[in-house]
Symmetry: C2
Subunit: 453 residues, 2 copies
């Protein structure tokens, strides 16, 4: 018996020791695996775990209260934990802040996090190649276009910049006559941002189409014309083609919204100069990262030179993060991100359409279902913005009508349209959309008298 107990004792001890050793080994190994990065990882997870009632978020670089980053609340929410809704709050649907994708990145936290070492890419250049763009990043961009089928990139040049704003300036510069006495004439609302010797803003394209000889297939060599084509269009989400034509006309395609979140993909775009931005693909507006896909080598070099003089190089920190985000975007052939994005935007459009279908005072742009080569099926509209029209004769200032109902949109005049149009952003966070919809519902119900308020 003693013998048996002794054997059991030894066995128990050995087993326990082995188990202890195993745990010791695994914890040591985990410490070994994580040395210098561990503190930063813990710090990030602590901040991420701060509870803001689902109506806000704490960030690593947020304002500290008692050494802890405080909650930054969504619009209309206040309080230390963002739990209090502000009565009478205005529904702000002005900006195109793409926070509808934030939940996707919360869900994909593990695959989308990046650790930036203190010594990461301190140099201006990448050491070996003396280039200033990550090859891997460029490959990911090409791969994404191939997978989604929204742009041809084979044999094209890619240049990256700080968001599409800067790339648009760079492209105008690249397409303008160098040192010419008559600068390029520009067409499209963005032009108010430019003020350089190279370019002069000439107004909305449609005005020029009628009043000059620059309609399709005519040639005017006295000046260079640069036309911006935003497709899908901002504000109304329709796919667009160039209006002007001729040897003196250069066209810049802003394809910021040409992704399955917002539109059916018709075919790979194959234009001379096409501009994209991370902001509307992954939703990272704050990273300020865009790229141009360019056919012509000279134009590519002039764009790259402009960016080089303007900022030297796109920040390496963002290049690293963009690489990681695009690698997640590519997962499952893109179906995870773009499936999520399309579903979210489609749902919002349906809800808003249903709400406004009861109204005769307000109408929305008409968007038809289309066959999407990416999803391989007919998809219903899922635009980034609603292009609302006030139909009543007396509602000339639609922005004002909405404002008095507690809704802020962007005036139609910003897009060269009548003031009876207003753009409403549908791609902000869920709280913003929910509150916008409530205000719209309330406004529509007024049409049927006080009983339905």
């Amino acid at each position: 018996m003693a013998e048996i107990h002794g054997v059991k004792f030894v066995l128990c001890l050995s087993f326990s020791l082995l188990l202890n050793l195993y745990f010791l080994w695994t914890s040591t190994r985990s410490v070994k695996e994580l040395s210098w990065s561990k503190g930063a990882a813990v710090e990030a997870e602590v901040v991420a775990s701060v509870s803001c009632s689902g109506h806000g978020r704490a960030f690593l670089d947020g304002v500290l209260v008692d050494g802890k980053p405080m909650c930054e609340c969504n619009s209309c929410y206040v309080g230390a934990d963002c739990s209090h809704f502000l009565d009478g709050c205005i529904a702000d649907a002005d900006s195109g802040d793409p926070l509808f994708l934030e939940p996707f990145w919360m869900k994909n936290a593990a695959s989308s996090a990046v650790v930036v070492a203190g010594w990461h890419r301190m140099s201006y250049s990448f050491r070996d190649s003396h280039t200033r763009t990550s090859n891997e990043l460029e490959n990911h961009i090409r791969l994404l276009h191939a997978v989604i089928g929204n742009a041809v990139t084979e044999g094209r040049y890619i240049v990256i910049g700080v968001g599409s704003t800067q790339l648009l300036s760079a492209a105008v510069h690249a397409l303008s006559p160098n040192g010419s006495a008559s600068p390029a004439k520009l067409y499209k609302a963005q032009t108010k941002y430019f003020n350089s010797e190279d370019s002069k803003w000439q107004g909305d394209t449609s005005l020029w189409e009628n009043s000059t000889s620059l309609s399709k297939n005519t040639t005017d060599t006295s000046a260079t014309f640069v036309e911006f084509v935003t497709s899908p269009n901002n504000p109304d989400g329709k796919l667009m083609k160039a209006v002007l034509d001729g040897s003196s006309v250069k066209t810049i395609y802003d394809h910021a919204y040409y992704w399955p979140h917002f539109t059916a993909i018709e075919a790979p775009a194959d234009e001379n100069v096409m501009i994209f931005t991370l902001s509307k693909v992954t939703g990272h507006a704050g990273s300020r990262f865009g790229w141009a896909v360019v056919k012509d080598k000279d134009v590519y070099e002039r764009i790259a030179q402009y960016i080089n003089l303007n900022i030297l190089v796109a920040t390496h920190d963002t290049q690293l993060r963009a690489l990681k985000l695009l690698s997640v975007a590519l997962k499952g052939g893109g179906k995870e991100l773009f499936g999520f994005g399309y579903k979210a935007m489609r749902h919002r459009w349906k809800k808003l359409s249903r709400s406004l279908s009861k109204s005769s005072r307000f109408s929305l742009q008409n968007l038809e279902p289309m066959y999407c080569t990416y999803f391989e099926e007919v998809t219903g509209p899922s635009p980034a913005y609603a292009w609302l029209k006030c139909e009543r004769e007396e509602d000339k200032d639609c922005h004002e009508v909405l404002k008095s109902a507690g809704i802020i949109g962007r005036e139609g005049s910003v897009f060269g349209a009548e003031s009876r149009y207003v753009r409403l952003s549908l791609l902000k966070g869920q709280d913003d959309f929910d509150w916008l919809l409530e205000r719209i519902d309330a406004l529509v119900s007024q049409e049927y008298g006080s009983r339905s308020i």
Copy 2:
């Protein structure tokens, strides 16, 4: 005995269980501590552990070979692990790539790493404040200037931008007459980068000082003059003051190098518009992060507006990283980073000076020891660049003389000087400096005939 064994057995089991439970608990806790961030942390440490023989580095966004980022070698080194020195390699001392600080960040890996979550600051703005700059970051910038004593920031505005390149453009824009028929006239080499309606490059300041009425204390109201003052000066490291004066003269101080690494701090600078860049403080050139300290509210707002139109906002990814880097820079009252930086630059200057002291063919700029208010002692020169002069009558093209000895510098003409001057960068990585010094030693030894080669 059986009883005793039984007690022992229970005790052993309990103890073992407790020990097991303890390890189980600690590993669970550590898993709990690190959930979503762990993969990214492991990934970063694996890449950091790639050995490149001390002559290169692997980066997270490097080109992959067999799924692993490959070594990116320092200049003159090649091979899969960068262990092979390229015979006859040219010593490239052209660029101001501040890699002399890389070892500091390797040493401070744990405190300087940052984990960027996939959902980190996707929005254009910071939620609560609707600002686009982190308050904590701005506070860190102010604190750093206060600790180092190199600039007054109390009651001043701070605006951040993409490196100092963009801020210089923005400041010129802000100081130029708005829509005026006669644009601002600019003085300093940087002006070749600008090409806008607002400004025209007029040449080197010293030419104007003599040839126009714009010497000190005269007033010319017919035009606006913008003078750039780089202090410490690039290339020669001397502290500079404005040359032009008068009510029509605006001055922009580029204080990129006004840090204890490169110069004794005389007193807190207190100019109207002062520009700084992270590149020359922490060495992170690739992050493209700069800031302007501005006295006048109107000028501040025009700079901010220019940056807003140009890029909308400085990338949030870099803001987060800059915050972390500056918090490390502030450790120990800045003594760790600036102590390291000064020591490194001082050592290089001494070595180069000693080497060239044997030469009558080449000379260096003369820099005197000065009292540094930051280190609270007299410090010897530690400039970012050597401003080398070829003294021999026949060595008119100094750049060519050096080139044929296997050294690439930057031509004096780039800085408006004679071609018998060349700028040599002293702030690159250690391999670059070591090889430069060897080439210089070899060149100097030629003066004494073949015996000493």
